[in-house]
Amino acid sequence: MMASLAELGRFALDRLARLGRANLFLLQLLRALSFLFRRPGLLVKQLHAVGVLSLPIILVSGLFVGMVLGLQGYANLVDFGATSSLGTVVALSLIRELGPVLTALLYAGRAGSALTAEIGLMRATEQLASMQMMAVDPFPRVLAPRFLAGCIAVPLLTGIFTAVGILGGYLVAVVQLGVDGGSFWAQMQAKVQLLADVGNGVLIKSTVFGLVANWIALFEGYQAQPTSEGVSLATTRTVVDTSLAVLGLDFLLTALMFGEW
């Protein structure tokens, strides 16, 4: 009885300590960011790794998500003769929810896990320790460029995902199913607001998700046990934790942004 209670206490303290370490880690990361003004080349390399190389999966998933939305929306709206609102349905669901959330989830799988594995292996093979031996701080050189590159890449990827998704919806609705193209765009433009929808949905949400996804990925890698098992565990945890954090935060942000409707 006492033992299990102590176990619970140890678990809670463990979690709390981990949260504290994660926050200190984020502070250190933010403090190291200014180094990138002197070495922007480091940033370019990481932007290529997390941004450019994530493009194929983002483009393909965006297109298919948009096309599925178009098909499903059409199947439901055609009963009411309201197929001209299909553009609104596709654009609003992509801009407000699906674009930011799915991009963040895909990013966690495609780039976040790779970041964790990379940092975790750097630790396991004592590359970080040897940098410190040479009096080189790994934060500005290794971690900060990856963090900033990720934070820049996620909103851009979200924008691309959303735009491609809307084009996919257009393709299915107008080209295949014969919805009037003019009213597809007209109804969309009438209902989608630049600041309230695109600003809140795509811009703010994706920025928050990008920050969280990269923070978790780098922290898990940095904290990973320096064994092959530890690195694999950390990689799994990155994907799971990022997904949970993104979905939870999405609900919170949606409630704050669109709650009063």
């Binding site: 009411f80 309201a82 851009l156 924008g159 735009a163 007209a186 433009q189 630049l194």
Partner: protein, 160 residues
């Protein structure tokens, strides 16, 4: 060389991302720029346009012949001025054609329906449709039904 390619790829990626945001701002949300059609412009005055929106279709016999490009208000007559762009393919619309604002389905969007007239002269750039019929506003219609019903009920006692 390697670094150059890397920078090129990243530059393309950033440009693509910005282009996506640009598209979301211009094409998808309300910041759209109007007037890139090459059709001829025709205006019509309506008492009430209901929920007609710019870029709504203009049809003749159910076939789309153009779209609404602008909606304004005539400051003298307080009438709505609807500017339509008609596809140059359909350049033989009689000048006495009439325009009415219709709704597709019960809950659908509103569009402009044209009825061809019988004149020999045809509409040109800057032409005006004289005969128009306003949009059906549901509240007014219901109000009229109610007043009819009320007057219908009060009328019979007076007659005997």
């Amino acid at each position: 060389m390697k670094q150059k390619n890397l920078e090129l790829a990243v530059g393309l990626f950033v440009a693509l991302g910005l282009a996506a945001f640009f598209m979301l701002a211009i094409k998808v949300s309300d910041l759209s720029s109007l007037g890139n059609d090459e059709g001829y412009r025709v205006t019509a005055h309506f008492e009430n346009i209901g929920g007609l929106k710019a870029r709504a279709p203009v049809t003749l016999g159910g076939v789309r012949v153009g779209r609404v490009v602008g909606i304004g208000l005539d400051p003298q007559s307080y009438e709505a001025v609807v500017t339509m762009s008609i596809d140059p393919k359909y350049d033989r619309l009689p000048t006495d054609s009439s325009a009415s604002i219709l709704t597709s389905g019960l809950l659908g969007e509103q569009y402009v329906g044209l009825e061809p007239g019988g004149m020999d002269s045809y509409l040109k750039e800057g032409g005006t449709l004289k005969l128009t019929q306003s949009a059906l506003v549901l509240e007014k219609l219901i109000g009229r039904v109610f007043t009819n019903m009320a007057s219908g009920e009060s009328a019979p006692p007076k007659t005997p």
